[in-house]
């Protein structure tokens, strides 16, 4: 009886999440099986058409684009961010605090500003082209905007701090005596790094990968501003279908496809890190 009473306290929280996440998700599932008329009004008639279109080769291409963008983003942030986290963890206390502060500061800076910064750097009349032309290294501007690579750079830049913080937390917990034991037993620095450090920081890598991969699927404003819509990603497609495209059932079906991709990555994370609730991701 007493435990029941204590659990009653959790009711407001359950209601809140249920109303704002649970019920809307049921709406999405139901909507994905409905049709619409030419004006975009929903017709309450069961259909599998939306799912047929999701697996249509043209739209599968969109899934592939998003998957590629998210995977490459995670890979780039890992390769660039791992050394940053590793070096920072080994700095003296003052410099370490400074470095951590500089890593976390972008969390407070508007994501639109950070995307816009790349438009200024990479544009045809942008800073990089200006400098290269002034140095007479090139005589006409290098076209760097509105490509797949531009979206990739912007997305990776946006999500870099998540990867670094995740890796840093696990590098910081690393037992240094294990590394010394490895050196004492004659292993080289590289061998120690790949056989001791990497396996021991795997939970951090998995966490960072998840934290970067999932948002990378949906950051449509970055690919819109930097990619110029030349490559269509899932986020852009869902956004267009839900708003101007007036095809909500299709947007619903694609949203579920996106959630399925996110869950797939999350289940991999659960396997690797054995973090049951996934709460470890956000600490």
């Amino acid at each position: 009886m007493r435990t029941l009473k204590r659990n009653l306290l959790a009711v407001p929280i359950l209601v809140w999440i249920g109303l704002l996440v649970g019920v809307p998700m049921i709406f999405v599932v139901v909507l994905s099986f409905l049709s619409r008329d030419n004006l975009g009004n929903i017709i309450y008639q069961f259909t599998l058409d939306n799912y047929r279109r999701v697996v249509d080769p043209i739209y599968l291409r969109v899934f592939w684009n998003s998957l590629l963008l998210a995977l490459l983003t995670a890979l780039i942030t890992l390769v660039v961010g791992y050394p940053v986290a590793y070096i920072t963890a080994n700095l003296s206390p003052t410099r370490r605090a400074l470095s951590l502060g500089l890593i976390m500061l972008p969390f407070w800076i508007s994501s639109l500003l950070r995307t816009y910064g790349w438009m200024i750097l990479l544009g045809n009349a942008g800073l990089i082209n200006n400098v290269l032309m002034a140095l007479k290294l090139i005589d006409k501007p290098l076209p760097m905007m509105y490509k797949f690579g531009t979206s990739l750079v912007g997305t990776a830049y946006m999500l870099m701090p998540f990867m670094i913080v995740a890796v840093f937390n696990s590098v910081d917990k690393l037992d240094r005596s294990l590394l010394e034991a490895s050196y004492d037993l004659g292993a080289s620095r590289w061998k120690t790094f790949f056989q001791i450090t990497i396996p021991l920081t795997l939970p951090g890598i998995a966490g960072g990968f998840t934290l970067v991969f999932i948002p990378a699927l949906g950051l449509y404003f970055v690919s819109d501003l930097l990619g110029g819509g030349n490559t269509v990603f899932l986020g852009n497609l869902i956004h267009t279908m839900a708003t101007r495209g007036r095809n909500r059932p299709l947007a619903a079906a694609f949203s579920l496809g996106m959630i399925a991709l996110a869950l797939l990555v999350l289940s991999l994370y659960w396997k690797v890190s054995k973090d049951k609730t996934g709460e470890g991701l956000f600490q």
């Binding site: 959790a10 660039v80 870099m160």
Partner: protein
Amino acid sequence: MKEKTNRLGTFYLSLFFVILYLPVLSVILYSFNASSSTAQWTGWTLDWYRQLFSDRVIAQSFRVSIVVAVLTSLLSAVLGTFTAVVSQWVTARMKTAIQGMMILPLIVPEVALGVSLLFFFNALGLPFGTLTLVLSHSLFCVPYVYIMVRLRLQEIDKSIIESALDLGASTLQMVRTIILPLVAPSILTAALLCLAMSLDDVIISTYMSGPRSTTLPVHIFSMMRVGVTPKVNALCTLILMGTFFIIGLSQLVTKNRRFAK
């Protein structure tokens, strides 16, 4: 050997930070450029800032954003702290359930979350505007408050709580006089983070804005789609200064409190 790797490490770190902050610094720099194109630097000016202050659309969306951000962080601070405190009392199974539910809004991609809320509020016939914006923003803010407060709660010595209860304090009294003061700094930091996240959100806000309640980021996004203009630079720079001012202020508050002890 060690010396060499240290120097290489410092070099790598410095290079990384230069690239990390280069885009931000160039936005600030070009907000003072007299020319309207980034192609050339024609001298310093404050004209773009002047233009901002006479733009009524920007002023209107700024007001919407501030109201939404303040209400969101208040609501999230209360709900998040409540959840964190309650999760200390419930059964282990319920605690796992709460943990799982708290990360739910963070793992569903934001576009999918925004679209689902759009369908839902639309079906309910709720007017899009401040209410829908605050409700949807609290969704990704509450989990952060919950996590930050819970981390602080774990550090609290359990014996203090027990002795308070032994000495006859009711649970409510104990929460008010012992737990809340101890977690207050965490709540403050989390609330500021909520403020920043709400002020910065583009994706969910796009779906939740009403005809006369566009938030500032949604408006800035539509300005940016047109291309690079110094006015956008000036606006972004001002927002950045505002954010840093708030962070600085909060640092000052928490530091002073520490000294007061």
